[in-house]
């Protein structure tokens, strides 16, 4: 029995099911999702064979390019994970990931947004906890790269704050800023990628990083736990007097207390803040 001409909606649903299927094109055409739209025995009526290709081979061109495109996009956002896993395992990761989190955006820049979540979902995945941390680092780097440009708090604005207002003042970070705490050491893997050295094996060790953008370049500050905690308090809106007092109180010596104020000066000079509310 020949196929009644499929209306546009059905044809597009069928073609998409075939194109995004993770198996071979034959498996895609015979998948339950594709069969629901157009039974596979009608393939030759829906897609005409050419002088040199079968109907399956012709739609296979689109099917074959789909995963390649997804892999290319995810490699752009996650070069360190790709470097760590190698070609074969990264391709496997992409195939699994886009099944669970296919693109729903007009831009491929958002395709990788759920990779950290994927490694939480897939705790059986080899090195999942480490890869979750590494994915968070790389996702934050792309976010910092793409964030809106916001003005940096200048010396003049700081000087305008009266000494008595400092206690209650709150600092607002620039948009292109992310503060991250990891359960694993991830920066050595980033460095190894950039230096073309073997990617280190995962190491479970707490680490803290501030990512920010200056002159349109993404920069990082590796932090101690104490630095992270103080910076976290500040960017969460804790009044400066309170945040600095807590940090200073937990410091054991006056030398360490001086360090707290040195951190603060570094963050200001690196341009991590856009405004001060006093």
């Amino acid at each position: 029995m020949s196929l009644e001409r499929p209306e546009l909606t059905r044809l597009q649903r069928w073609m998409q099911e075939v194109v995004v299927h993770p198996g071979t094109v034959e498996e895609a055409i015979e998948s339950a999702e594709a069969e629901r739209e157009i039974p596979s025995e009608h393939l030759g009526e829906v897609v005409l064979p050419s002088h040199s290709m079968t109907s399956a081979e012709r739609i296979g061109v689109y099917h074959g390019m789909y995963l390649m495109r997804m892999e290319e996009a995810l490699e752009t956002d996650y070069p360190v994970i790709r470097y760590h896993l190698g070609d074969h395992q990264f391709a496997h990761l992409v195939r699994e990931y886009v099944q669970r989190y296919p693109s729903t955006s007009y831009t491929l820049n958002r395709l990788g947004d759920y990779l950290p979540q994927f490694f939480l979902d897939e705790s059986e995945w080899p090195q999942a906890a480490f890869l979750h941390d590494l994915a968070r680092l790389e996702l934050a780097m792309t976010e910092v790269f793409d964030e809106e440009e916001t003005p940096v708090l200048g010396a003049a604005e700081l000087e305008d704050v009266s000494p008595e207002a400092w206690e209650a003042a709150r600092l607002q970070p620039i948009a292109a800023f992310r503060l991250l705490a990891f359960k694993h050491s991830v920066i050595p893997n980033l460095v190894a990628f950039h230096e073309d050295r073997p990617s280190p094996s995962p190491r479970r060790r707490a680490s803290w990083v501030a990512l920010y953008r200056r002159d349109y370049s993404v920069l990082r500050l590796e932090l101690s736990r104490a630095e992270h905690d103080l910076l976290r308090a500040i960017v969460d809106g804790t009044p400066l007097g309170e945040a600095l007092a807590v940090a200073a109180a937990s410091s054991k010596s006056s030398r360490q207390q001086a360090k707290v104020f040195r951190w603060f000066r570094t963050w200001i000079s690196e341009g991590l803040f856009t405004a001060i509310e006093s």
Binding site: Q12, V47, S50, M65, R69, T107
Partner: protein, 281 residues
């Protein structure tokens, strides 16, 4: 030969703006007619790409070329996307906004591929209706590119060139005529590319595309990864004789060589344009 009906200018020769060429363009300021920017590369960033684009748009005319309008999709039109497209066009002063005669996904998904439409009355009416809505929203003519395709639907009841011509007329939109795509699809589907070119309404054509491709033997893939082949140059010559001179752009998106190589390639189109002017004179 006619101009296009909107009076959109012939910007001469241009190339697609690619990140690997930013520093060369800004330091050397090459003599080139215009740059075509990939819409989706700039609508969701406030960082370096937009900062550099602003500088380039100060120096050169720009046009926008998108891949996600999905004009033939049966999904609802994405007005959030259109709002960003419009805002970018306003920001850069892009002379026109283009996309493709295709669909990219349904059911809320995006395959990020330029998928082919069946050339039927149903898909023609559907696309025409959507183009009109999009043009009203963007408040400027939409310019749509003929696709390169790797399959033919049994449901099609007209040739691609008839579909493209009727689409442009019925929707009152512009055409970005990709000469390489005509060659690729003609090879893949064994039709006459000259018949295609001759059927295109000249006054709707606002821009040309040229590109290299990859011949797999059984079929050609539109990879934009190489020099333009001689048969495509010949078709370009026929196109400018038939349609007229229009802003002509070279696309090179994979294995991108240094800017000078891309620039030299598009300058070859200048030879064809000069020949055409000489012949007319």
């Amino acid at each position: 030969m006619n101009d296009n009906r909107w009076g959109l200018p012939d910007l001469g020769l241009g190339v697609g703006l690619r990140t690997t060429h930013y520093s060369h363009i800004l330091s050397e300021k090459p003599e080139i007619g215009f740059f075509e920017i990939l819409t989706e590369n700039y609508i969701d960033t406030g960082g370096r790409p937009l900062f550099l684009l602003d500088q380039i748009a100060e120096l050169y005319p720009t046009v926008m070329h998108g891949v996600s309008m999905s004009i033939g999709s049966t999904d609802p039109i994405d007005f959030d996307y259109l709002a960003k497209v419009k805002a970018l066009a306003d920001r850069t002063g892009a002379l026109w906004v283009s996309d493709h005669i295709c669909w990219t996904g349904v059911l809320g998904r995006n395959t990020h591929d330029l998928l082919p439409l069946p050339y039927t009355e149903e898909s023609l009416a559907h696309s025409v209706e959507r183009i009109k809505i999009v043009q009203d929203y963007l408040e400027r003519p939409l310019v749509l590119e003929n696709p390169s395709t790797y399959l033919e639907f049994g449901a099609s009841d007209m040739p691609e060139w008839e579909f493209v011509a009727r689409l442009a007329e019925d929707a009152d939109c512009g055409l970005l005529f990709d000469v390489n795509n005509v060659y690729v699809s003609a090879y893949n589907h064994r039709y006459d590319p000259v018949a295609y070119i001759d059927a295109i309404p000249a006054d709707r054509v606002c821009q040309y595309h040229l590109a290299g491709h990859t011949n797999k033997g059984t079929h050609i893939i539109d990879t934009h990864s190489d020099h333009v082949v001689d048969p495509v140059w010949e078709l370009f010559g026929h196109t400018i004789r038939t349609v007229g001179l229009r802003a002509t752009l070279l696309e090179w998106d994979a294995d991108i060589p240094p800017f000078e190589v891309v620039h030299q390639e598009v300058l070859k189109a200048g030879d064809w344009r000069r020949q055409e002017v000489a012949d007319v004179a």
